[in-house]
């Protein structure tokens, strides 16, 4: 009984929230552009769309799926959330078995898309909504094979009960200080695409020895880039490395004693693509999803859960610093495609797993 009441309350709360935020209920046919309406009609016959995603964490991922279903009644998103490398592993398994399961593929390792594009495994589609996105997201692929739908920031954080603000590391190189021995937690490039990008940037900026020096401080290695956030919440480790700002801000909003550090030598940014897989089983629903993911509604949903906005009309998330105030670092797509797989091997040789 309590559960039902609770559920009712939540639904009411969510509906009121949506009304407050948008001033209307979504999913009214007259709100749709003719193009959108046409896709929606075609998509209704397909009924669903399968989304492999390593970008958003589980909760915003599910929220996006739900919002899509609410805007387009009769359509369902199968949200298959994992780390980016595991999502790519599943996609490779699908492709190797020559049975496509996935419609939409979202990864934080932009290198994946260079490969998929070269192999002819992507569907060309330019979402109409892409023109209204922020500058950094607008130019995805010149051939319209993929589109930037996620802008991840990876930085450091600390548990405020274990480390004081003054003591906390300020830059990536501060992490090499022996005083952080057995205090650091980090994800794994064999799972997380973002950690692969981060490791690549560290190598680029500080040479191949950076990770070897970090190993002297015996970081605890998890799988996802979000893993250290939980470890800091529980007090198992004091410093989280290359953690996503969104997951950390969400965790702080729930009362966990964490604080973000914007490294002085640069926050790792991953403008991460999303693409439709070639011969996707639900092509129209997939195109509609691309429109949704580049449109304002998606940015509204994800910024509420502290992810970066991709639309100029949607304000950035509360609690984070605006993008134009922080130093951003990122590899080129070519660097990522070649460099991240190499870093995975280097990582395993250095850390043993």
């Amino acid at each position: 009984m309590t559960i039902i009441t609770r559920r009712g309350l939540l639904q009411t709360g969510a509906a009121l929230g949506a009304m407050g935020a948008l001033g209307r209920f979504p999913a009214l046919a007259q709100d749709m552009t003719p193009h959108e309406k046409q896709l929606y009609e075609a998509a209704k016959k397909e009924g669903e769309v399968t989304w492999y995603s390593g970008q958003l964490s589980a909760e915003p991922g599910e929220a996006v799926g739900k919002a899509f279903g609410e805007r387009y009644p009769g359509l369902k998103v199968n949200v298959i959330r994992s780390t980016s490398q595991v999502a790519f592993q599943r996609l490779s398994q699908d492709l190797r078995a020559r049975t496509v399961q996935c419609d939409i593929f979202s990864s934080t390792d932009s290198g994946h898309y260079g490969f998929l594009k070269k192999e002819g495994l992507l569907t060309k589609y330019r979402p109409k909504n892409a023109d209204g996105m922020i500058e950094a997201a607008r130019k995805g692929d010149p051939d319209d094979m993929f589109q930037i739908c996620y802008f991840g920031l990876y930085l450091m954080g600390f548990n405020t009960q274990k480390v004081s603000e003054a003591d906390a590391p300020k830059s990536w190189t501060d992490l090499l200080d022996p005083k952080w021995k057995d205090q650091i937690a980090v994800g794994h490039p064999g799972y997380s695409g973002a950690i692969g990008i981060w490791a690549l940037m560290m190598k680029k900026m500080y040479g191949a020895d950076y990770l070897k020096k970090l190993e002297r401080n015996k970081p605890q290695i998890g799988r996802s880039s979000m893993d250290p956030v939980t470890l800091m919440n529980g007090g198992e480790r004091a410093i989280g490395v290359a953690i996503p700002s969104a997951t950390t801000l969400l965790s702080i909003s729930r009362g966990n004693p964490l604080k973000l550090i914007y490294p002085t030598d640069g926050t790792v940014a991953t403008p991460a693509p999303t693409a439709i897989i070639a011969n996707a089983p639900h092509p129209n629903a997939a195109k509609l999803f691309m429109e949704f993911a580049t449109g304002p509604e998606y940015s509204r949903v994800i910024t509420k859960l502290y992810n970066e906005s991709l639309r100029p009309e949607v304000p950035p998330p509360v609690g984070g610093r605006p993008l134009n105030e922080i130093k951003l670092i990122m590899p080129t797509m070519e660097e990522a495609e070649k460099g991240v797989p190499e870093m995975r091997e280097v990582w395993r040789d250095i850390f043993g797993v």
């Binding site: 398994q93 919440n233 007090g235």
Partner: protein, 577 residues
Amino acid sequence: MTDSAAMGAPGRPLSLSGRLRNVEPATLVWVALAAILLVLVAYPMGKLLVSSFETRGTGAFTIDNYLTAYGRARYLEALGNSLLLGVLAAGISMVLAVPMAWAVSRTDMPGKSIVWITVLGAFILPPFLGAIGWILLAGPNAGFVNQAWRWATGLQTPLVNVYSFPGLALVIALHSFPLIFIFVKSALDLVSSEMEDAANILGAGTWTATRKITLPLVWPSILGGTIVVFLETIALFGTPAIIGIPARINVVTTQLWQFFEYPVRVEVASAYAMPLLLITVAMILAQRLLLNRKGFVSQTGKGGERRPTRLGPWRWVVFGWCAAVGMLAVAMPMIVLIQASFAKGWGRGFRLDNLTFRNYEYLLFRHEMAIQSIWNTLIFSSIAATFAVALALLVAYIAARRLVPFAGALGFLAMAPFVIPGIVMAIGFYAAYASPPLALYGTAAIIVLAFTARFLPIAYANSTAAIRAVHPEMEEAARILGSGRMRTVAKITAPLIRKSLLGGWLLVFIVSARELSSAVFLVGPKTLTMAVLIYDLSEAGNFEVVAAMGGLMLVITLVLVGVGMKLAGRDFMLRRE
């Protein structure tokens, strides 16, 4: 012997239909069963072997896969780690289980039911959930055990660290010891007290008699159980993935997973899986050889008198040991998992302001895959259990009644998956059936087939035991009265063994429902199972939600075990077959 022998009159040439009528139905069933077993067992394993010698893409013969698979120090190290982990976990399991089995079987220790609850609980708790429980308990900084230790002693160094080789081995052992317990206890139950009496008369005390007489008598069972734990450990995927990565321990199964990274190297994975298969076959053969040397096996049925050994005050020491194992294996991990599933942050402990239903609410109402994965699991497991039991029953019946020549070969095939680690079987199924023309990848069929094959031995052992218990004379009575073979089985044999079949069905259902290692390579987006979803959730380290999903899984399992006990008898899961 045959139904139709009387129908073909001698001397008359038989038409085709006449000939077909002359075929004993059991022969047709035999052919059908052989075909099914080939599909389920022989073909995937054959394909595994073949693909280990194939070049990716072209299929040309090569030994490069083996060179790649064993060409790096890290890969060989993983092999060494697996063997060491197997030995360590099996050793710890033996130390935990043998005193418990002895205490329950042969002494007047109080509170024996606690041991049964422990054994059942350790069996029900899936190994990867136990692993997560132990991360919450023995994380070096925030684990509850270490927090308590620091509070009590004021020391800063942690008492225990789950992220270590011994930690990993202990967590595995705490889950695996029931296997040895069940083996050893049922052997001890057969040893009569007279042999101990003889030793006592010759001046040996209780301990000497136990050490020199009782335990050596059940040595084959101890060894058998220990070998099974060793094999289970080297084939385990979930626990090493969850604890091994932070502990910097790479093992064979986690390395196999890496071969499935892009580009998917099924061929190298196949080559790398071979030692796992060979070790398993070698261990089983070794065990057979040892058990066949029957020289020291002197149990001769239940003739002798059995009296519990009186332990005096020592019985509380033994009870303490059993209770401690129960605490470590079941009570403590379950309590922290339940706490975490209702917690905002697991490290904040048992406080009212830390209580939330959000984790469950999220899974049940906002997470579409969670509900679907529960349905998937229930459906796949029940179909697999039905297939496995039906198949096992037919094979067991044909083998037990020797209805056709080579019936034993069917029995061998039905037992063969016992020596195939789950992850290896999944790779075999992927290699054999994932791609077109069958294109079963991502379908429910491939998972049901894999579960059926993987747990066929459990169903087969169960059915064989059940059928042996039915004397053929009851069937013969029906046959004399004119009933056909099939009708006899349906009307006489099946009802007689219904209860044990139900027990077997539930057993296969429960182990399928929590199966991770073979499911993890075979699920597609719409066929996600609970175990794989828990594994996916654990990636992001969000232990509170993982614990809540585990809580849902435990509730479902407990309901089923309850139903099983009601319908199939209290000990249906722990019988030694």
